[in-house]
């Protein structure tokens, strides 16, 4: 394609507070309609908003995590538009003094790190939910204000992305940041994380940006990618025909997989912002800001890089571990107990993840604790049990939460490392399989594997396989 695709993303994320931004109503998802409302979020006459401190601090935390400049003064503004999802006919947002400006976030695409600049981070209130009846000819819509006033964080990137891979990485990195900092639960299916894309095209090598089109109604990361691909193609076709791109807002139609021009709401975009007189401005001093900054944990990207350098893990393994903060914490606690990062990583990314997935459990809900996994690896290394037996013990640990030593004792799984005992079993197997012995002597390699297998079977898997191998070879190669 002769065009370069220029993409910016606007992200909305509902903050994980118990109550709304300006009143004490619950933010819990899925309640019966209009059961989490009060005079403030219904905009009854005479009410005044009072800012939720936790929501404000979450917004500060995210602005700091995105390396934004945080001014010591910020205030809120009214954004006026008439739409029934906002009972006040305006939304309290920020326009003139955004909480955070000029930040950045590093993303990784195919091993290359790219810095995406953040234009601003600000705090605003969520709108209510409109329900459009499906019956044909219905001339009404229904409104549920449970969501109205839920604290909403808006993160606006610069148009620094050029490919859908970069967009994918940006969305994933941002999502993980919000989860790591525990600012939002990021449940896209519940709308607590949403994206809007702005896309423009320009001829490769050209500096000036083309007219951008905003796309809304992107309910999943998959749709974001599809919409961008669709929109880039649509714009390229228009430009190829010598037409111009209208600066407009389009809606993603997920059923027909195309973008359509949005009507009504956006026709007259004149928000008439002015400072919100009902809320006092906020002054942020150094001490407060540094307290907030110190509450930011090591972020996923930095953690991944540290896992690679400090524990010599592969990029792939490190990425699997940092995907979930609880999983990465589990791993680190294990490594603190036993310095065998690769082996522990294998147990966690293979066995632990598989069992969690099969049981549809979060990592934190599993009965196995890091110290127990460490003990399991230790008793394998000591030769008390074989690695095959260890898998069996692990399942038992998952099911019962018992310590591995206890399971080994109870089930009599201790590995046989008695040379005499193993030797006598080997003698029995050798005398019982003369044909296989001949094959071995003729140079058939898998004859040995078969014989080891027979010895293991005879000892119910308890013989130390390394010893079986050595002793068997010793006896056969005489």
């Amino acid at each position: 394609m002769k065009y370069e695709v220029v993409i910016g993303l606007e992200t909305h994320s509902e903050l994980a507070t118990a109550t709304k931004l300006f009143c004490g109503c619950s933010t819990k998802f899925g309640a019966d309609p209009n059961t989490q409302v009060c005079p403030v979020c219904l905009a009854m006459p005479g009410v005044l908003p009072v800012m939720n401190k936790k929501a404000f601090e979450y917004a500060m935390k995210s602005a700091a995590a995105l390396c934004c400049k945080i001014d010591n003064y910020t205030n809120f503004d009214r954004k006026s538009y008439y739409y029934p999802d906002l009972p006040k006919n305006y939304q309290i947002s920020q326009n003139y003094h955004n909480l955070g400006v000029d930040g950045f976030m590093d993303i990784e695409v195919k091993g290359t790190v790219k810095r995406i600049r953040i234009h601003n981070v600000h705090l605003e209130e969520e709108a209510g939910k409109l329900i459009h009846p499906e019956e044909t000819g219905a001339d009404y819509s229904l409104v549920d204000f449970n969501r109205a006033g839920v604290p909403l964080l808006e993160i606006v990137s610069y148009p620094d992305m050029r490919t859908v891979d970069e967009v994918e990485s940006y969305m994933q990195t941002l999502r993980k940041m919000l989860l790591y900092t525990e600012i939002s639960d990021c449940k896209m299916q519940e709308g607590s994380l949403r994206f809007e894309a702005s896309i423009s095209l320009r001829l490769k090598g050209v500096e000036t940006l083309g007219n951008r089109v905003e796309i809304k109604n992107l309910n999943s990361m998959k749709f974001v990618i599809k919409a961008i691909e669709y929109e880039a193609t649509r714009q390229a076709e228009l430009l190829d025909r010598g037409e111009t791109i209208d600066r407009e807002t389009r809606l993603w139609d997920e059923i027909n997989e195309k973008s359509v021009r949005m009507r009504s709401k956006e026709e007259a975009q004149d928000y008439r912002y002015f400072p919100e007189p009902d809320l006092l401005p906020v002054l942020i001093d150094e001490k407060w800001l540094s307290t907030i900054k110190s509450s930011i944990p090591e972020l996923p990207f930095a953690r991944k890089q540290r896992f690679v350098s400090e524990f010599k893990l592969s990029d792939y393994d490190a990425n699997l571990l940092i995907e979930d903060k609880v999983l990465a914490d589990f791993f680190e606690e294990c490594v603190r107990g036993l310095n065998r990062p690769k082996i522990l990583c294998n147990w966690i990314t293979n066995d632990l993840l598989r069992e969690a997935k099969e049981r549809k459990l979060e990592i934190g809900q599993l009965k196995v604790k890091p110290a127990q996994l460490v003990s399991l690896v230790e008793i394998v290394e000591k030769g008390t049990i074989s690695s095959t037996t260890a898998k069996e013990v692990f399942i038992e640990m998952i099911q019962t939460g018992k310590d591995p030593q206890k399971i080994v004792e109870e089930k009599g799984l201790i590995q046989i490392s008695d040379e005499g005992l193993i030797g006598s079993v080997i003698d029995k197997i050798i005398s019982g399989n003369p044909g296989v012995i001949d094959d071995y002597k003729k140079g058939k390699k898998n004859a040995l594997t078969f014989l080891v297998g027979q010895v293991m079977k005879e000892t119910k898997g308890k013989a130390n396989p390394k010893m079986v191998n050595e002793l068997l070879k010793g006896k056969l190669d005489v």
Binding site: G24, N34, L42, N75, H132, D139, S141, L142, V282, L283
Partner: protein, 95 residues
């Protein structure tokens, strides 16, 4: 300051108000008069005056993230012009 009919129509559209021709004419005059009256303030020299947004010199008023009792549905809907079940009912907004 004279404002035009176009301005009136624009503001009426933003406010979702339908105006008759007579009303448009009436508001052109009334709003122009109001703006002219307010314009008097422009005669004052404010070169050395900082913009003032908030008059109380108070900052950082917060509440804790603590749950409070919501309104009962019948109270929430008490003044609503139209409802359906637990919902507020409004004129159709899309298409």
């Amino acid at each position: 300051m004279k404002i035009s009919k176009k301005d009136i129509r624009y503001v009426a559209h933003l406010s979702r108000i339908a105006l008759s021709d007579n009303e448009e004419e009436l508001f052109v005059h009334q709003l122009s008069d109001i703006l002219s009256y307010i314009e008097k303030l422009n005669q004052l020299n404010t070169d050395n005056v900082d913009p003032l947004v908030y008059t109380t010199n108070t900052f950082n008023v917060f509440r804790e993230d603590a749950l409070e009792k919501p309104l009962a549905i019948e109270d929430a809907q008490y003044c609503a012009p139209s409802t359906m079940g637990a919902f507020f009912k409004v004129p159709k907004v899309i298409e």
